[in-house]
């Protein structure tokens, strides 16, 4: 048979229209043999996912991850070496349930609190938590006439108890992450590693939180309605980004080289987005996009 030498011959060069199912070349084979045929990448990726129906991710989230891929890998797909050696996996989750709680207030610029539920089932046992970020993405770049300061308030909730209503964690965690707006931004990354660390580390699969984003003018008077820095419709409920270190043999591990300088955040390119870290941690200031080097 065509695969008698045990190699799958995939025609290169000539346009090969696989009219039949992708696996027709190796049919009829039962599941175990079919997987045995596959090289590591496909076996790992395949795991029966090849034709599994899949939900389509949010287009903004996909655009962000494509940009992240471009900043992490070369054109040929080889991981760049100038990246943090701490993680080799980044997962983006969009929330399952979102219902707005406290209505937003145009005058004070508060955005409605959004109740978010993330299912982290895709995180495998060998992927160890390093960092997490809430990603607010905008349909169109946001810019303001003057500096605007935003504070992200995060309340972590215990998973629903048997009585059905989620009870707040004893100390509702207010997370003050301040960032300034001066330029056009398409997204904001808010570092939420501290509140999520205990939950993810204890292998909690469902993360339930309520998020509120309040923006005021840098001079602390609430912006007038006309100048409301955040138009609610622009704001999409945030996605959750997990930076993980996969310790399996198949994953690529790089070594911490001495000359690697730790930078506050390496999201998907600094120019289009803003990374905000909690106060008192790496940098209270929003990360300044690097100036063009002369």
């Amino acid at each position: 048979s065509r695969a008698s030498t045990g190699e799958i011959q995939i025609a290169a060069g000539a346009e090969w229209e696989a009219k039949a199912e992708p696996w027709s070349l190796v049919q009829p084979l039962d599941e175990k043999d079919r997987l045995g045929f596959l090289p590591p990448l496909f076996k790992v990726l395949y795991n029966g996912q090849g034709d599994a129906p899949r939900l389509q991710p949010d287009s903004r989230a996909l655009r962000y991850m494509k940009r992240l891929y471009k900043s992490f890998a070369t054109k040929e797909g080889i991981p760049k070496s100038n990246r943090s050696p701490l993680y080799n996996t980044v997962r983006l989750f969009t929330s399952y349930a979102q219902h707005k709680q406290a209505p937003g207030d145009q005058v004070t610029g508060t955005v409605p609190s959004v109740d978010l539920l993330f299912h982290l089932d895709r995180v495998t046992a060998v992927e160890h938590f390093i960092k997490s970020v809430l990603l607010f993405t905008f349909s169109n770049p946001i810019s303001f006439s003057s500096a605007v300061k935003c504070v992200c308030n995060l309340v972590m909730k215990e998973p629903e108890s048997s009585s059905g209503n989620p009870h707040r964690t004893p100390s509702s965690l207010t997370f003050d992450s301040q960032f300034e707006f001066r330029k056009k931004y398409r997204w904001i990354e808010v570092d939420v590693t501290a509140p999520l660390q205990p939950l993810v580390a204890s292998n909690q699969r469902n993360i339930h939180m309520s998020v509120n984003l309040t923006c005021v003018k840098a001079q602390l008077q609430p912006p007038s309605a006309r100048e409301n820095p955040f138009n609610m419709t622009l704001l999409v409920p945030p996605s959750l980004l997990l930076y993980l270190n996969d310790t399996s043999a198949q994953a690529h591990h790089r070594w911490y080289s001495l000359h690697y300088k730790r930078r506050p955040s390496q999201g998907a390119g600094q120019k289009r987005g803003l990374s905000a870290c909690p106060q008192g941690e790496e940098s209270a200031e929003a990360v300044r996009p690097s100036r063009h080097r002369r």
Partner: protein
């Protein structure tokens, strides 16, 4: 490395009209030598572009070619490879000659859509052959 004890005045070792390429012809290089070959495939050929977002094209490369008898250091082959050659020639021809196989790889970054709609960026080891050897 023979010691030449010249009695008469030193004659030039290499005569002026010597042709280097002719000199090299005496070393038998196999035509189909063990080396790296490209194999560019795109995930759309496998109908996997619906969930493998990047890279679109992937060139794992492969090693193909003959392993010459006199391997020497050219292929970075371990001594065992020459031993296997000798066994094949002198003792038991059913023992195969050394094969042309990859010796070094580079990793690959992949962006995929998971069944639950989440998006994953992963880096996998040993995905692209970068060097061949005979062993």
């Amino acid at each position: 490395d023979q010691e030449t004890i010249g009695l008469e005045p030193q004659k030039p070792l290499v005569p002026a009209s010597f042709n280097l390429s002719e000199y090299f012809k005496q070393f038998l290089f196999p035509q189909n030598e063990c080396e790296l070959h490209d194999f560019r495939l795109s995930f759309s050929q496998l109908k996997w572009d619906s969930w493998i977002v990047a890279p679109h094209r992937y060139n794992p490369r492969y090693c193909k070619g003959d392993c010459p008898r006199a391997l020497g250091h050219r292929y970075g082959s371990p001594v065992h490879t020459m031993v296997q050659n000798i066994i094949h020639e002198k003792l038991d021809s059913s023992v195969p000659r050394p094969s042309c196989v990859p010796a070094k790889y580079s990793p690959l970054s992949v962006l995929t859509i998971e069944p639950d709609g989440s998006i994953a960026y992963k880096e996998y080891e040993d995905m692209i052959a970068t060097k061949c050897t005979c062993r």
